[in-house]
Amino acid sequence: MISITSFSVEKHTDYTGSKIGMWLFLFTEMLLFGGLFLIYSTYRAKYPISFHVAAKDLNIQIGTLNTILLLTSSLTMAISILSIKNGSRRGSASFLMITIIFGLLFLFNKYFEWGEKIAHGIYPGSEALSVIDSSIVLFYNLYFVMTGLHALHVLAGIFVLFIMFVLLLKKNINRHDFVKLENTGLYWHFVDIIWIYLFPLFYLIT
């Protein structure tokens, strides 16, 4: 059944293999959020009117601004990878830094937005929420849990982007070996996609 050939394993890293691994990881992330989308759709189907009423209190301007920030950060991320492919390490690092700044701006807005809600006494388990209709409370709690989990992913993404930035400066990532940066990009775009769904589901149902 077996014969020996002179075939020897090349020691270089398996580029496609790493990308498969990253995509598989993203699918698990998708199913992780999927559980929350399941809960969302259940309660939305059950209490459509409460959801409409409650969503009126969300700030569409901030939501739209954040959408644009994330979409633009995805653009700069893609350009960063394009640059390293074309051999421009400096260009890649610059665009990566811009991506990080957009990410931070997104989180800053989120902080501002959440802060305003909390100042009005709207947060999970708060006094103000305990007296209003429970279906409206469910909307807010879903809002906090889902955007909160998303914000955690943005935060983790920024952290990884920063590590990639350092690796770029150290020439650990270069035009011949940039699969780490590409996988980070995949993750960043995925976080963007989650937001693409969260935005209309929370902000645009008034």
Binding site: Y15, W23, F37, T206
Partner: protein, 93 residues
């Protein structure tokens, strides 16, 4: 490793980005109209279209092997099944 055939370039990215922004503006505008029942459907269709653009261009799915498409499809189907089948309970209770 990667082959450079027809991979997206700077102009493609820019075009994708502009389309995404336009679609965002569009979905915000449409939401302001009172579309009633089809409002959810429109919002989700636009979101899915945007996701497809991000997937295909920014995430290079368009240039990847069939395997990647297949794996994504498998995951999306799984997600649809778990949400869809839960509604056998929710809608008829």
């Amino acid at each position: 490793m990667q082959n450079k055939r027809n991979e997206a370039g700077f102009l493609t990215y820019l075009f994708v980005w502009i389309s995404l922004i336009v679609l965002t503006a569009f979905t915000v505008t449409v939401a302001a109209l009172n579309l009633g029942k089809i409002a959810v459907l429109t919002a989700l269709s636009i979101a899915s279209f945007k996701s497809l653009m991000v997937l295909n261009f920014f995430m290079h799915l368009k240039y990847e092997d069939r395997l990647f498409h297949f794996m994504l499809l498998l995951s999306v189907i799984t997600l649809s099944i778990i949400i869809g089948f839960t509604f056998f309970d929710i809608s008829f209770r």
